[in-house]
Amino acid sequence: MQPLRVLIAEDDPVGAALLKGLLVREGHVVLGPAAMGEDAVRLARDERPDAVLMDIWLAGRMNGVEATRAVTADFDIPVILVTGATEATDRDLMDQVAGSGALGFMSKPVTGDALRMNLRIVRRHTRLLARLRDSEQRYRSIFDNAVVGIYMADPEGRYLVSNRAFAEMLGWSGPGELVSGVRSMDEQVYEAPGRRQELLARLRAEGTVTGFVSQVYGRDGDLLWVSEHCTAVHDWAGELLHYEGIVVNVTARIEAEQRWRTTLGILRNTIDAMPDHVVLLDLDRNVIMANASWVRHVCGPGEAGAAAGASYLPGTADAAPGAVAVRCPDCVAEDGGPAPLDRFLREGGHQSGPVRLLPGGEACTCSVSPYRAPDGTVIGAVLVLHRDGEGGFASAGRPAARVDTADRRGA
């Protein structure tokens, strides 16, 4: 077995010689002895021994318990305290020994067996510590080099720990600056008041919250969108101690969605603003989509779904709640022949002509144009019914713009 380098701290030369003898007989290397507590700490710092045998009473101002505290806390070196038999019965002193950080304890006279046993504990402890440091370093490197933001925060709204990616995401120069600079996440980070409280409430109730998307302030006051995955850490009594978050910047995605929604809104408003009836049909005459003018015509202005207009997509998840079935326009040609839609379904191409809209027999012009899938195949038709003169169908019902205003006022 590899010999240990052991520092002896003992102000009594006889006691020191005794310990040295025992150690040398076991094949270990002896450093010291240090007679004063201060010397023991200095030697431990300079020589980095594998273990220290520390007498409880030393010369100088620093006793063995204080020196043990310094050596274990500052250098992580295992210390075995050695004390006289009478002192071992002093309860106050033994309380101090227990709180000193010492790994082992022997009372005089020290026997070879007691020393061997204590040094075995030291070896085991050192191996364990090395393994711990190793795995900590590995995780530390994952944490530090992660592309996603990782943080730990307390329920009061302060960051406790952050990795570099998260600090940089929020525009801070580093984790230290973020942790000390953010005194209140509620005021400095989350844009919506109460947003973090919402997160906390869900963490308390569910333990884990995923895909929590919020708008947050960067350090310079710029706004960004983040998606958080948070996990609560509770104490033994079930009280929320702190929580850990993994954060992804989703600003680009949210902005793309907003641009897309705006474009879609413009398209919908455009076809809803048309005074003509516009209906998209598949080749079996099923209504895929209809503008506000046609939906109003079929449902009447008061009914649910009448204001849905172009968003009317029956049978899909997008359909307005409570929307009723919108039927395909039923027309007869003025000349008694097949209507433009029938001609389209038979011959394809663009078809149009004067028709009467049933029921009621309103005279209008019907035009049917092929509707193509991205690969060019015709999969449906766009049917437009235009009332000649008099400003189209809008004059008969409520104009689309009025529907829109009335809706907003009612909301």
Partner: protein, 83 residues
């Protein structure tokens, strides 16, 4: 009227992302992830079996414009447990 497959896991205990899926109506087998089964194109989704659920025309139209269909059976995790 178009009908769609309803896939269920053949091995209910399989924990891999991609696994063997079988349509509970026509019996066709596919090796796919559950996410893929939730987003199938029209060609992949169409089931010839008369008991398979119908796809509403509006939904079918969307698949022709690039939309996808959810082809996972509601009990996809447990359907073949008895086998």
């Amino acid at each position: 009227m178009m009908r769609k497959h309803q896939f269920a896991k053949v091995d209910c205990n399989c924990t891999r992302r991609a696994t063997h899926l079988k349509c509970i109506h026509c019996g066709v087998m596919e090796y796919r992830s559950l996410d893929e089964a939730r987003r199938m194109s029209q060609g992949q989704a169409e089931c010839p079996h008369p008991d398979a659920p119908q796809v509403p025309p509006q939904e079918r139209f969307r698949t022709m414009m690039g939309g996808t269909l959810d082809c996972l059976a509601p009990d996809y995790d447990t359907h073949f447990k008895a086998d």
